[in-house]
């Protein structure tokens, strides 16, 4: 009796899963699914929906990991691991919450772990001739306005910051996350983001000798 029940339950799960995977196809035709639709589908075991989320967010995930860890191979590994972990953790993801900062939190954590265990810590560098890059990565006119000498100086100062200062600067300015998203991505309260950010800016200013604020 008991084992029949167990077997029935397992079969039911299998069938239901296959059915939901088939179900995604027609819905994709028409308007693209929103993040929360995709997450809801992925939560029900729809792997195609999760692949779509990977496609949408792999760029920002890799960039985030790279900016934290400072090496391409580690960044790729961290981003990949984060997507796998996020998939397994989808059951605990609160429906309706924004997916991006939640994912980035796992990415940041993976990247921080790799940075801690790396024998040589990567530092960030400027793109070669960052003021005059050709092709699709052409800088905006504003980028060119920031003198290259000043950029080098600023980057050296950022590279020299402590981990938390660097993380908050990375999230807020290099990734352009909002304060709220930064809080979720780093697992800090909003007030902590504000205070750490102003501390990091203060340190940078001291380091750069900008005392006029």
């Amino acid at each position: 009796m008991g084992h029949q029940l167990a077997a029935v339950a397992l079969t039911a799960v299998g069938t239901w899963n296959r059915a939901s995977r088939c179900g995604v196809v027609p819905a994709v035709v028409g308007r693209p699914l929103s993040d929360s639709d995709l997450v809801a589908r992925a939560k029900r075991g729809d792997e195609a929906a999760y692949e779509e989320l990977v496609r949408l967010y792999q760029g920002i995930a890799f960039r985030t990991a790279y900016l934290v860890v400072g090496g391409a191979a580690d960044a790729e590994e961290a981003a990949q691991e984060a997507f796998v972990k996020a998939y397994r953790a989808l059951g605990r993801f609160r429906t309706g919450a924004p997916f991006r900062p939640w994912l980035l939190r796992i990415v940041v954590s993976e990247a921080r772990n790799r940075r801690r265990s790396a024998r040589r810590r990567g530092t960030l560098a400027l793109r070669a001739a960052a003021g005059a890059v050709s092709g699709d990565a052409a800088p905006s006119p504003e980028t060119a306005l920031l003198a290259s000498e000043r950029r080098e100086e600023l980057l050296t100062a950022v590279n020299g910051l402590g981990e938390k200062d660097r993380l908050v600067i990375t999230c807020r300015y290099f990734l352009d996350l909002s304060e709220e998203e930064t809080g979720v991505a780093l697992g800090w309260r909003r007030g902590t983001v504000k205070s750490r950010l102003s501390r990091a800016l203060r340190r940078l200013r001291t380091e750069l000798g900008d005392d006029d604020g």
Binding site: H3, L10, E47, V84, R88, S109, L126, R127, P139, D176
Partner: protein, 224 residues
């Protein structure tokens, strides 16, 4: 201030970032890798399910992700049965930030439950601020983790390992005997020894250490 912030935004655009790799295929391969084995495993699952009924205690967890068992009373602990344990680090791993017990309590927002072992030798909070870890003994003999219902753990156990349903006082719990891999949301998967998991007062507790089942149950009952 505003000028420096503007400069930092511009700097972000000028930092060299290598071209992004395509992760879709590798992630797909990894999240589906257990699927083909599901069919092969099912007979074993059913056999062990019979044992569960017969023995009342021992039971198996099917390895397919879609059929992960969520235990009654332990909804936020997932146990996945696998042929081979995933790669994991040995030792305590990086837990997070080390704090005093009072600071940790303030940050996590609940009063930690404490076993009858005197004050912990070290207290850590994970980077997400949701998992509290208390370490006892030097070197560590007992590791007690506490988290609220919205956080959760994933555990991988080898096919041959039995997981036992136990009672901690009147509350349902889970005893995993022998080495298994525990994956917390943050940090790397870690090889763990014997572990007891149960819930109490809205918290999930996980006790790990060189303890027999009876020792773990006794220690768990001392927790206030």
């Amino acid at each position: 201030m505003a000028e420096l912030e503007r400069e930092l935004r511009l700097l972000g655009a000028a930092i060299e970032v290598p071209p992004e790799p395509d992760l879709v295929r590798t992630v797909r391969a990894r999240i589906t890798e257990r699927e083909p084995r599901r069919i092969a495993r099912r007979p074993l699952v059913v056999v062990l399910a019979v044992l569960a009924v017969a023995g009342g205690f021992a039971f198996a967890i099917p390895q397919a992700r879609s059929a992960i068992l969520r235990f009654f009373g332990l909804e936020n602990v997932t146990v996945v049965r696998v042929h081979e344990l995933p790669p994991a680090i040995r030792g305590p791993g990086a837990i997070g930030e080390r704090l005093s017990l009072a600071d940790a309590e303030h940050r996590i927002g609940f009063a930690p439950l404490l076993p009858d072992l005197g004050p912990p030798d070290a207290v850590y909070l994970d980077p997400g601020g949701e998992l509290l870890v208390l370490l006892y003994g030097r070197p560590v003999r007992v590791r007690l983790s506490e988290f609220r219902a919205h956080y959760s753990l994933e555990k991988f156990v080898a096919a041959e390992q039995l997981v036992q349903r136990v009672r901690v006082g009147a509350r349902p719990g889970l005893w995993i005997q022998g080495p298994h891999v525990v994956a917390e949301l943050f940090g790397q998967p870690r090889l763990s020894g014997n572990a007891l998991i149960w819930q109490r007062a809205g918290l999930t507790l996980r006790l790990e250490g060189r303890l027999s089942r009876d020792q773990a149950l006794r220690l768990a009952s001392s927790i206030r």
